[in-house]
Symmetry: C2
Subunit: 244 residues, 2 copies
DNA sequence: CATGATGTTGACCAATCGGTCAATAGCCAG
DNA sequence: CTGGCTATTGACCGATTGGTCAACATCATG
């Protein structure tokens, strides 16, 4: 807790302004549209996406935010109510975009289970490549105390249930080969590639986010998908588990 | 940049103190020992490990640090010079412990390549389970501007080269099946399990860090190792690549 | 006891923090 | 032109930030 009235309550000083906390901007951000958000609020939002993604919540000041957006600092509070609510708005936007991308990838998927899984992976990778600060944002939110976990859960839930549906019948429902583990494994393999990109680049003297390396990574992940699916299908037969 | 002289330079005001920045503590932290660090400096270090790991660098104040350690705030600067240098000390300690654990796992490994790989994975998991804030610390450091990338590279390098040695002859040296990709994949699968634990727990109503789930996860990862190795070995034969 | 190094303390600093507020600019409807 | 509404501004607030400093405690050695 730092600065300010530390609670937004307790004021009611002199003027009759009752300080309704639900206000938070010009009529709920322009009809709550999913538009590209031109104008002042949009500029602030874009600056927030970048700075929160690069420096984290605590590492970003409202001053920097306003400066990058090219607007007055007070406008941030006018349009979004508080720094925390601005952060929530940024997360919400990303989550919506992510969920939309996942749904689209599932809807467009064609072919058998194996092909559909490959297409879902491609959709996931596409989204990550288009929104590179997103995994960092999520990770930083996870690290924070009393983060908006329900937001994350809602969003992760969409992807997780998609994976569970796709894997239905291909793997056991419980134990080490449950869909949850495969979901966590692939999310991990994809996400860390982006969050650890600076260190991996330093280590290999090749930019992991460059075109060539991204394509290579994609091929690697598809190869892993096939390897796991083959073993999964093989084990449904007479094969025994290797490491009990 | 926030507070203070904002540069530690340019002072030289009045007093003759030339402000040698190399000072930073009581003769370089008690002979630079790897000891358990009892005493004031140790208490500060332990508090720093916890708070930096939980709230991140920017999210932790020197005040909180000193309070948790039960010492005066000024002592933090006396023993470690600055907040940044304290953070570096914490990272350095973890890196040393990590490198030691990796070396030990490699030295103790017995059997053929497959068995050695399994044992290295176990060693990696053991370390992560014992130091749960470590992956968060690394991630937060990665996200920060002008982080100590060389520190991370040195540490990641040790593990990466171990993986490369173990995989030598088992996989191509370049392309989507290069050791680097397998290294990144397994690091990702392990690390995200810990960094995303709160969200995954919320999602599944089971604690990913609980004993049962940790054991399950370990079994899953060993299964993945076998699946990938089998396919890798199979492809060295007459098999063709599935997805060109 | 005197001395000097090593630890420790609380008061203090400028800068910055998130947030508020009265004044105002712009604009459209009446 | 006049209200009334929204958007914008700059000055301002108390709290907290990382960091400094002179005074002081502690203690082994001369």
């Amino acid at each position: 807790m730092r600065g300010g009235k530390a609670g937004a309550e307790g004021g009611a000083r002199g003027t009759g302004r009752r300080r309704t906390p639900e206000r938070a901007g010009p009529r709920a951000a322009r009809a709550a549209g999913t538009a590209g958000e031109a104008g002042t609020a949009g500029a602030i939002l874009r600056a927030a996406e970048r700075l929160f993604g690069e420096h984290g919540y605590e590492g970003t000041s409202v001053q920097q935010l306003a400066q990058l957006a090219g607007v007055n600092k007070a406008l941030v509070f006018y349009h979004f109510g508080s720094k925390q609510q601005l952060f929530d708005a940024v997360l919400e936007r990303y989550y919506r975009a992510h969920a939309r991308a996942i749904r689209q990838a599932i809807r467009r998927a064609r072919g058998g289970p194996r092909e559909r899984i490959h297409q879902l992976l491609d959709g996931y990778l596409d989204f990550m490549e288009r929104h590179r600060v997103y995994p960092r944002l999520v990770q930083q939110e996870l690290a924070r105390r009393s983060g908006r976990l329900e937001l994350i859960r809602r969003n992760l839930g969409e992807l997780a249930s998609a994976v569970r549906t796709l894997l239905a019948g291909l793997c056991p429902e419980q134990g080490p080969l449950a869909p949850e583990h495969f979901f966590a494994s692939f999310a991990g393999m994809v996400v860390t590639w982006f969050t650890h990109a600076p260190a991996l680049g330093e280590l290999w003297a090749r930019d992991p986010l460059g075109t060539a390396m991204r394509r290579e990574r994609r091929a690697h992940l598809h190869w892993v998908v096939d390897a796991l699916l083959d073993r999964l299908l093989g084990e449904r037969g007479p094969h025994a588990q290797r490491r009990p």
